[in-house]
Amino acid sequence: MLDEARRKLMSGREYVGASKIDGPLVFVRKTHPVGYRELVECVDSDGKVRLGMVLDTSDEVVVVQVFEGTNGLTMPGTRTRFRGKPLTVGVSDKMLGRVFDGLGRPIDGGPSPLADAEPDINGRPINPTAREYPRDFIQTGISVIDGMNTLIRGQKLPIFSGNGLPHNELAAQIARQAKLRGGATDFAVVFAAMGVKHDVARFFTKSFEETGTLDNVALFLSLADAPSIERIITPRTALTLAEHLAYDRGLHVLVVMTDMSNYCESLREISTLRGEIPSRKGYPGYLYSDLAELYERSGMIKGVKGSITQLPILTMPNDDISHPIPDLSGYITEGQIVFEREMSGRGIYPPVAGLPSLSRLMKDGIGEGMTRDDHPHLASQLFAAYSYVKDVRNLASVIGEEELTPLDHQYLEFGEFFERRFVNQRKDEDRTIEQTLDLGWEALQLLPAEELHRVTEEELNVHYHGDGQP
């Protein structure tokens, strides 16, 4: 029998030689009993240490996934040490203002910050009874979000985008403009880049620099030229720091993770190498659970000041929202902001598709005392009217615009106003929620009052017939 304490003692042992190396996987035979998910150090012939983790362990062979890739490793020359503990990362609030690699090692030339704690990067599930249901409205200053798909503190709200669409601009704008009503709070941004190019990382750094918030930002970069396997760890490292900042230091943390599609591809790579039975499009059957392990690390905790709000970005392969990556994400997150290439082509920024976008936590965070009393019905009415616009446009494309009824023409005008004036805004335009809502009513004024079933008489009297004053 070998308990964990004994295993710690064995952690000094070094095994020379691997029985097989396959992609990022190293197979080692004849070891002492090694624990599942144990931290591993692989030393190459030059003496450089690479970190890894046990993916599969048995009395015969141990399979190690090496995060820094296996480039240059040789079967006889590889030395392996099993550390008898899971992969951890040192965290502290001194990490704000700094840049790290995917495993949490500084790459900005500065020294390693002194760690206040050293948690397991995999985190542990939050007890649902410890959660506080999120309901605090975050004003992003972006009408289509604040008005129609409200972001709530503690929410996980991904951006479903496509290649070449301005998801980075939107994420940066949200990170810059996000504020709670009623003043400043202690906030921080944790940024995790997986497999994106240098210029994307530079774009974000610059954007934070310009607003003078860089000191409140920690960046974890596993860029396109880093081994793809490192991407599997990057979001976990970032979220581990986010949890420390939020729950131990009381900060409100916004976590931006880009690009989740690259993350999923790395996962698929490993799964294929291990010969696992794939589910859709070759992605492993556990992709849902794996993504949930990341996305569920957001929210608010009872009796704790801080919070974690997640803004994952993913590019939909072929702009296909039913692809497993957006699909499974949508099943886990609390809504989604969906980009539409066609809107972008018409010069609308942000090119947010009106109908498939959704914020599920919106219902409890808007209305009287939170945003404005007319907000819930107004949003619902805008959605209903805009959805009818889509029908009218389809009809018009078949029978021609001239054949439309006068009412349908009014809807087309409404649709134009909604997209060009309400949705569309400048990349530095920061609208208050009142401006957003008033703009929504301005759009509805293009429709006859009888069409507005979803708002009340009083709301019509104040905002549609009246001047906004009760």
Partner: protein
């Protein structure tokens, strides 16, 4: 009791452990693994090897770690104290776990499912000396202000009641009665155990002909569910499965609700936990939490416990059914459970069938839904378990295996439609794809209890909706102007029905729940508008004029303006609508 070593770990891959050196392990035996005593279950035995599925995260488990047997299958503790509690998939009480390990769930922590310190007021119903059969009620405990917990003889016990304690306060594990069985004396307490994978026995199954009233109009009126029935709610992400399940959990007329959050979001469970205690049951005036049990095995909790959570939930439901209650089980989402099966099967390197799912998937789905039913309990009472299962098809495509197999075993189908959800038509239950095979069975109930016109009005409305589909195809090609007023009026009435009746806001205090009376009144008014309008058009009144009748706006908003308690308001709306059309006919016809 944990000291029986049954073997050692050979290999660890995720939640599945291969064991070696197996001596006397039993199939489905509950075991604990390693020095941190992680809970697991034996799911395969072969020679000296075994496969164990572990209900906790297996980080750190290593070859040669010991495996300890308990000799028992994975079982639940059943007794007073279940209601209002939130458990994980293997019945660990989450509130207690939080006291033990804080905001995160640590591995290896355990706590008793039923509080051993709390005393319950027991009132015996029988005197010593009588013969008791399995399932007999020997006494009661007032569990919550609305639910009387009936203490029954366990299904595997019968014989002479040798002794029974007098009325008084007892803890769940104190002996309150002794039964002399053919196999010797059995001590009974307020609590019993039952293995989760074995259905609890009943005297007989009965026909399903009482609707489970949910207060949701599209369900009760168009696609009714029967008490003891089964229904699937499939839909892509964000189409409203969880909202529908929550609405039913809140407002349906079951006595007990078991809500299983199976592989879904943590915040959704927190939502229920914060909202239910504040909501008042319209029928009893009591807090909704007093009738609810929550099982939370969220998406980031271990997948094996997710697999078990479904059985845990339905076993709890059967236990209350056996006391003569009507129980509704919501499982959100059965797809996550099926995926847990797939993941475990994959880790065991079994041969996959469709899309990586194991070949036994259909059997497991059938077995699960088979545990629903309207029954005569062992003690002769009526009780039921209704199962409402959400299905999350990848890409929202209903042709995938879980949806398809589920469809074979359920008799009611509420298909959620992406287009409707995108248009914010909620609940997004499609009136074209959905069906209920319980319709004929529950019609007599509506006839007697609500009104004989229900069946015909409903049928007429469904026909109009079918007609509308054909008309809309024409409109798509040539525009609405090409249709005569009589046909445009069909579209007009269907649109009204969708807006005024089918759409129901879960967030509006008046609209969120409609009594059956309100549902029928609303349906009848819309049908009256249809009949009167159609006749007026025949007489030469134009559609434009009919549409302008003031009462039409009132009909569209009646769901928000007329509360359940004042149905007489519908008479007034109806009268105003008729008067409006009378006037038009007088002028234009």
């Amino acid at each position: 009791m944990n000291e029986r070593i049954i073997g050692q770990v050979k290999r660890v891959s995720g939640p599945v452990i291969e064991a070696m050196g197996i001596t006397d392990a039993r199939m489905l035996e509950l075991v604990s693994v390693g020095e941190s005593r992680l809970t697991g279950e034996v799911i395969k035995l072969s020679g000296s090897g075994a496969v164990i599925q572990v209900y906790e995260e297996t980080t750190g488990v290593a070859p040669y770690d010991n495996i300890y047997g308990t000799g028992l299958p994975l079982s639940l503790e059943l007794g007073p104290g279940l209601l209002g509690t939130i458990y994980d998939g293997i019945q660990r009480p989450l509130t207690q776990l939080r006291e033990l390990s804080g905001r995160f769930i640590e591995r290896g922590v355990s706590a008793e499912a039923l509080d051993r310190k709390k005393a319950w007021g027991f009132v015996p119903a029988l005197a010593a000396g009588v013969d008791v059969a399995a399932g007999a009620v020997i006494g009661t405990v007032q569990e919550t202000s609305r639910i009387e917990h009936r203490i029954c003889v366990p299904p595997d016990v019968s014989g002479r009641l040798v002794s029974i304690s007098p009325a008084g306060e007892y803890r769940v594990d104190e002996t309150i009665a002794v039964v002399e069985t053919s196999g010797g004396k059995r001590e009974l307490s307020l609590m019993q155990r039952w293995p989760i994978r074995t259905p609890r026995p009943v005297a007989q199954r009965k026909p399903l002909n009482i609707p489970l009233i949910t207060g949701q109009r599209v369900i009760d009126t168009l696609f009714p569910l029967a008490k003891g029935g089964t229904v699937a709610i499939p839909g892509g992400f964000g189409t409203g499965k969880t909202m529908t399940q929550h609405a039913i959990a809140k407002w349906c007329d079951a006595d007990i609700i078991v809500y299983i959050g199976c592989g879904e979001r943590g915040n959704e469970m927190t939502d229920v936990l914060t909202e239910f205690p504040k909501l008042v049951d319209p029928r009893t005036g009591k807090s909704l939490m007093e009738r609810t049990i929550l099982i939370a095995n969220t998406s980031n909790m271990p997948v094996s416990a997710r697999e078990a959570s479904i059985y845990t939930g339905v076993t709890l439901a059967e236990y209350y059914r056996d006391q003569g209650y009507h129980v509704a089980v919501m499982a959100d989402s059965t797809s996550r459970w099926a995926e847990a099966l797939r993941e475990l099967s994959g880790r065991m390197e079994e041969m996959p069938a469709e899309e990586g799912f194991p070949a036994y998937l259909p059997t497991r789905i059938a077995e699960f839904y088979e545990r629903a039913g309207y029954v005569e309990t062992l003690s002769g009472a009526d009780g039921s378990v209704t199962i409402i299962g959400a299905v999350s098809p990848p890409g929202g495509d209903f042709s995938e295996p879980v949806t398809q197999h589920t469809k074979r075993f359920v008799r009611c189908f509420w298909g959620l439609d992406r287009q409707l959800a995108n248009a914010r038509h909620y609940p997004a239950i499609s009136w074209l794809d959905s069906y209920s095979e319980y319709l004929d069975d529950v019609t007599p109930w509506w006839d007697e209890r609500v009104g004989p016109e229900w069946a015909t009005e409903r049928k007429d409305m469904m026909e109009l909706l079918q007609k509308e589909v054909r008309l809309l195809q024409v409109v798509k090609l040539v525009g609405p102007d090409a249709l005569p007023d009589s046909q445009r009026f069909v579209i007009e009435v269907c649109t009204m029905f969708k807006n005024a009746f089918l759409q129901q806001s879960a967030f509006d205090d008046i609209d969120r729940y409609s009594t059956v009376e309100k549902q029928l009144r609303m349906l009848s008014i819309i049908m009256a508008y249809w009949r009167r309008g159609q006749a007026a058009i025949k007489r030469g009144v134009t559609l434009v004029k009919i549409r302008r009748v003031k009462a039409v706006q009132e009909i569209v908003k009646m769901k928000f303006t007329v509360p359940n308690e004042s149905p007489e308001e519908f008479d007034r709306i109806l009268a105003r609508m008729e008067r409006g059309i009378d006037q038009l006919e007088a002028i234009y016809a």
